[in-house]
């Protein structure tokens, strides 16, 4: 079902552009949420359901909300930005990213178009097993990192102990 991919691709690119281009930060954030949801859709379409769900939980449920909170806490409630992303000083940024995009697209090996998808069944149990066996060390490291981040975030933003993470 190719059209799913294309719809999702358009959705993602569109919402992604909206997310970085709008002047109203809250609108940016909302667009970002749509962007994240699109990515989750991509994951679903790749049969990585777990990852998709995780994507929604973490990005939509947590990070986006966090960003909204940050916006509310650091700006005026309406979230209006004074400076447009198209101002003069940003030109080098656009150039650089466009150049990178060109390089990336150019460097994609055209042969890969030939490879097609293979179905596979990955269950939760496999993921769990992999996490606890083969990837036990990275898993532990990540958990440590998350703990550190939690503590760090709380310490840094200590005056607001209700901050999540």
């Amino acid at each position: 079902m190719d059209y799913v991919f294309y719809i999702l691709a358009i959705w993602i690119v569109g919402s992604g552009l909206l997310a970085i281009l709008q002047r109203n930060l809250v609108h940016c954030a909302v667009a970002l949420i749509a962007f994240f949801a699109g990515i989750a859709g991509i994951f679903f379409s790749l049969h990585a359901e777990f990852l998709g769900a995780i994507q929604v939980v973490v990005y939509v449920g947590a990070i986006a909300v966090l960003i909204l909170f940050a916006i509310m806490l650091t700006r005026h409630v309406t979230g209006e930005e004074e400076v447009s992303p198209f101002s003069r000083h940003a030109i080098w940024g656009w150039i650089a990213s466009a150049a990178v995009l060109c390089v990336l697209l150019y460097s994609l090996d055209k042969q890969m178009f030939a490879i097609s998808a293979e179905p596979s069944q990955i269950t939760m149990l496999d993921i769990g097993n992999a996490m606890m066996q083969r990837y036990a060390v990275p898993f532990e490291v990540i958990s440590l990192l998350l703990t550190a981040a939690l503590v760090g975030a709380v310490v840094i933003a200590l005056e607001e102990p209700r901050e999540r993470k």
């Binding site: 970085i20 293979e118 990192l145 993470k165």
Partner: protein, 102 residues
């Protein structure tokens, strides 16, 4: 027929959108948003490779999971930092808080 390269192109585009966000916005929050988008681009790649090249090995998914976890941690710490910075400078513009002297 959607192939791996479709996903790679998508990822590249998303990455560059994120990069553009990072490079052009002056608000630190938006910089962070751009960063998250770049990370997502990476995740798309990981999952797509997993899907197309090695669906029995779990590496792609696993690293995507780890990447998401790291992104979560990064966002938490980054935003906490921003709030702390804002409290100090009353501003989160990247260029105006470049001073390291405090």
């Amino acid at each position: 027929m959607v192939t791996l390269t479709h996903y790679l192109v998508l990822a590249a585009v998303v990455f560059c959108i994120g990069l553009a966000g990072v490079l052009t916005r002056r608000n630190a929050i938006m910089v962070l948003v751009g960063l998250e988008m770049m990370l997502n681009a990476g995740n798309i790649n990981l999952v797509a490779f997993w899907r197309y090249l090695g669906s029995q090995a779990m590496s792609g998914q696993m690293f995507a999971i780890f990447a998401i976890a790291v992104a979560g941690a990064e966002a938490a710490v980054g935003l906490a930092l921003l709030i702390a910075v804002y409290r100090h400078f009353r501003n989160v513009s990247v260029e105006e808080i470049s001073s390291l002297k405090g």
